[in-house]
Symmetry: C2
Amino acid sequence: MGITIKDIAKFAGVSATTVSKIINNKDENISDATRQRVLDLMKEYNYVPNKIAKSLVTKKTNTIGLVIPDIRNPFFPELARGAEDRANEKGYNIIFCNTDDDAEKEEKYINMLVEKMVDGIVFTASSRRGSEFNKGNKFSVPIVVVDRDIDIEGIKGKVTVDNFIGGYQGTKHLLDLGHREILFLSGPLKSKTSINRLEGYKKALKEFNVDFDEEYVIEGNYKSQWGYEAVKNIGNKIKYTALFCGNDLIAIGAIKALKEMKLKVPDDVSIVGFDDIYMSSLIDPELTTIRQPNYEMGYKAIDILIDALENKEKNVKKIDLIPQLIIRKSTLKR
Amino acid sequence: MGITIKDIAKFAGVSATTVSKIINNKDENISDATRQRVLDLMKEYNYVPNKIAKSLVTKKTNTIGLVIPDIRNPFFPELARGAEDRANEKGYNIIFCNTDDDAEKEEKYINMLVEKMVDGIVFTASSRRGSEFNKGNKFSVPIVVVDRDIDIEGIKGKVTVDNFIGGYQGTKHLLDLGHREILFLSGPLKSKTSINRLEGYKKALKEFNVDFDEEYVIEGNYKSQWGYEAVKNIGNKIKYTALFCGNDLIAIGAIKALKEMKLKVPDDVSIVGFDDIYMSSLIDPELTTIRQPNYEMGYKAIDILIDALENKEKNVKKIDLIPQLIIRKSTLKR
DNA sequence: CTGAAAGCGCTAACAC
DNA sequence: GTGTTAGCGCTTTCAG
């Protein structure tokens, strides 16, 4: 603050242009003597280049917006960190925004980000939205969508997890273990995410010649509290020996309810979660789950975005990461 | 992008100044007719004001840097969310940075933030640092320190938790329950945080006329893995009926080790954690712990920072939040 | 090798 | 009520 490129130029007896070139390593044609003098002066006066001014002329802020529902949701810290790491490696910073799955907030934030001239946005859409994001022609920032599959006009990329495979893997694992009555505790079936997992579940059942029964699919939300309540509500109205949960939080809630009902996991009921959040390996019993590569998702999303930004990639890049079955202690042979 | 204030001015047949005034609600002296015309035009052409340009002249970006060790550490999402919420309420955005407790990264990030002209920084210092942050005269951004108590030249505020009280509360709870052999599984005793908790522990002991024994303090780090190992290593070399852990993660590791050693929590050993992270109420047994008001810390830190920014508060504001004993299921009468 | 000039999009006196 | 002018700190032709 205070000392500018002009000051340095004056002190060094050169023009601002020269200093600018040196700062930006466009100094092939600058004599070593001049360069050294300028560099020394910059150090001496503790010169800090003003990127805002630079951005104004270059139209590039090296800042990316990360729009997620809520960083407190254990799903997102990993993703955010992956995003931040890649951004940092490439010389970008991340502005993060919590939308609480609220469409209004989403638009408000995106607007703010556009005003601040972010170079692009990585966006996890509200699970309450349908699969269309009606931005219309309103914004024009490059966007990469992550985790939740959604269509946005002019989108630059999509990084999702193959939820179909995940749903299939989890169910198959349970079937392999001999389970046949497998309850599916699903998140909101409005989102493609949940729907695809359910499809995977059906596919596995079919492979094992187990009839699909609608009663075995319970729709709720992605919170631990709901998992708890769902299990309690079901009681023994439905007979089951295994639970496939829409995410780990639901699984954790379910385990708690089961314990209270004096049912043992995995002895009485096997449980498979989805996500592999941080705490899943820390709870008792350690949770068998489908690991989502969250860190990688954030990392890749930023990677694709920056690639689109810097190399003017025109084609939309879609990546479907493969989730992985992590077998721990919450599932057992029937 | 594309359409600027000048364009709008031209379309409306007024000067850019007039449009600027309208945008910024400094329009007491603008006729309703003009205002309406301009407003309509802005909407029609989907005008997005360029805050970068604005920042360049006002020297204010309405952006704040949040520098923390690692968003994946369950301690920080809450804090980050509190910070973001307050920032958002006040019309600011947050750039977040993960330093991995690495002093070099810290400085690199702060540098980047200064270059981007953030209005201020909220900073959680590395636990590996001593209590002095040798910025020297290098930077000049307003800084508010959060969580970790550290002295920085020209600091604008400090938001910490009273760890002494926390240490006291946890230990007293155990003493009240009849425990006398209380192991203290501490984080790195280099930081004031840990030291103060230990002091609280001693104070409580003293009040109950229990002699302090150095052997009962084990120094490690704040990871669950360490809690696990510590308990395993101790085995029955030291006799204890209760564990007071430096944080919840340590406690979770300890519980796991204890289970493996066929010791029951809380029947055989009582455990108190520290932090009350998200998962603490979800594990088995639900953890008795000292709740740190993380959300509030982030919230307050931003609040103080913005206050200093906008009202030119000159005196350093220090807030010591009081932690709270949350009694759950991991402690029992001796 | 180096610099002069113009301009990025906006705001802030001050004048009318 | 509204416009003129100047300038924020930087980069970018283009000329020499």
